[in-house]
Symmetry: C2
Amino acid sequence: MKLATYKDGSRDGQLVVVSRDLSQAHYATGIATRLQQALDDWNFVSPQLQDLYVTLNQGKARHAFAFEPRQCMAPLPRAYQWADGSAYLNHVELVRKARGAEVPASFYTDPLMYQGGSDDFLGPCDDAWFGSEAWGIDFEAEVAVITGDVAMGASPEQALEGVRLLMLANDWSLRNLIPAELAKGFGFFQSKPATAFSPVAVTPDELGEAWAGGRVHLTLQSSWNERRVGLCEAGTEMSFHFGQLIAHIAKTRNVRAGSIVGSGTVSNQDWSHGYSCIAEKRAIETIEDGAPKTEFMRFGDTIRIEMKGRDGLSLFGAIDQRVAGPEDLAPPAEPDEPGEDSAPAPA
Amino acid sequence: MKLATYKDGSRDGQLVVVSRDLSQAHYATGIATRLQQALDDWNFVSPQLQDLYVTLNQGKARHAFAFEPRQCMAPLPRAYQWADGSAYLNHVELVRKARGAEVPASFYTDPLMYQGGSDDFLGPCDDAWFGSEAWGIDFEAEVAVITGDVAMGASPEQALEGVRLLMLANDWSLRNLIPAELAKGFGFFQSKPATAFSPVAVTPDELGEAWAGGRVHLTLQSSWNERRVGLCEAGTEMSFHFGQLIAHIAKTRNVRAGSIVGSGTVSNQDWSHGYSCIAEKRAIETIEDGAPKTEFMRFGDTIRIEMKGRDGLSLFGAIDQRVAGPEDLAPPAEPDEPGEDSAPAPA
């Protein structure tokens, strides 16, 4: 099943079910209006959404309409948790090698994760706004899951059972703000602005055998200014699978429904696959030539991130964003919205 | 106005208005069922809650009942953001001095903050569950605010206007997990389990002149196993006020309604005020005697955190928790809950 959230002027948008080929959509009105609502009560709600999905795929849904990714918010426009791993150790090794540092032995047994902001995500086609190009604007192409409830102390196997949905993430990073921020010792903050997610989130069964061992065995495509820069295999080189990442969070606390957990930048040892973030390209240049030569992103640049299934069809739809600067700045976050719960669902 | 969230078996609980003296409460049914709903639409909802508050204080609310802090969840049982500062630099100085380290100059101009987990908070009287005493269980008594929408790039003055509610926090910390975790470079994760909050959240006007310059000029009381260990002044030594902390978050992203921002452990240069976390007591012992002698918390220990207004009455009610171990472990997080939106409000 494939789910998306349509913009309707409210903070949480409107839940829609999307056909397998991403051509058609249907409001989930009468079942659930928001994705978080479905996640809070998954065993009761998801079979009803699944029924609608089957009807939609058969072309028999009565109020179906053409699916338009540009109308999408992030599947969860805001979430109670966004925890991002660095599960592709090749990425960590590259970045460290470029600055002559070793990877600590513990990194091979204990996942590296950071807690991200989750109150204001970007939709897949929303512009990404930044105050300055000097901040070192970079994309990070990732796979992410949305969980159900996972109890404190869960094993990786138990945690993996908690995976409800998969999607893609663009974990925007401000590279030139990172060194000073990490030097303070408390992790990322200003260097990690709002993250964007793919148009649809899908249940694991949509991936067929490509979802195996808690990993997505498919190719993540990244195109920067319409030039293909990454064709990275997301499966075999993911050193920690999603069950391990979720269990890491659950060691000392419960993980509650609607938590989003990211894989970190998808990365391969074979450099011919290209890159899923510019920092990695610059690390390779530094290792090869002594200095980076690829610059970070400029205002007006575009980034497209997509993953195709084994049938060649786009699984999640594409993240397709433009980098925007202060000149383009949208009006500030909307003020309090009256009546947002009155869910008008065109049919 | 004072607001609380009553346990009702659902994830978000039921919003109640609480009388100024914390003796009476009244369900906000008909106005808003959840606190997040009120925050999402504050300009419309808060005047209605205020009207009920006035009626309740006058003893004229028709379905008032005795307020019972033990029935409370955290005012926001889950939130879209929990960002915690270290605004009392004395705390940072003490901890660093104990290990012979300097405080970087930037710490006096750039707030230190970390992004915390916000999907599963503890109520004020909920047991706090930990897997092992060897983790180094410590409380951290703090002041926290809940914000409305604050736009990216807001100044500290603009950000301060975004403060909607104030409350107390117990930011549980696992001291013996911190060194290895911070050494990984990405900040806290497992070392910061679920945070607890006070029974009620209050609007700034409830503090009168004690709310000034973005700081709370009152005394935070901490009692460990019923022994008073801290009487710390929260106002003058808060090096960064709440507007500055919120503006720090807003530098590169929007801060959305319902974000919780903490002050960090309240701490005074005059050691006679005692301490708001055990780590600080141990730092003082290390500075004075070369080694810490106070141990961290044991299973069965209690911690009570409270703040009184200038009238001597408890402002937020008390956080009053017991440390529990695996032996006491509650059943795992409840499974999906059917029908949680059907808000039954006893009257």
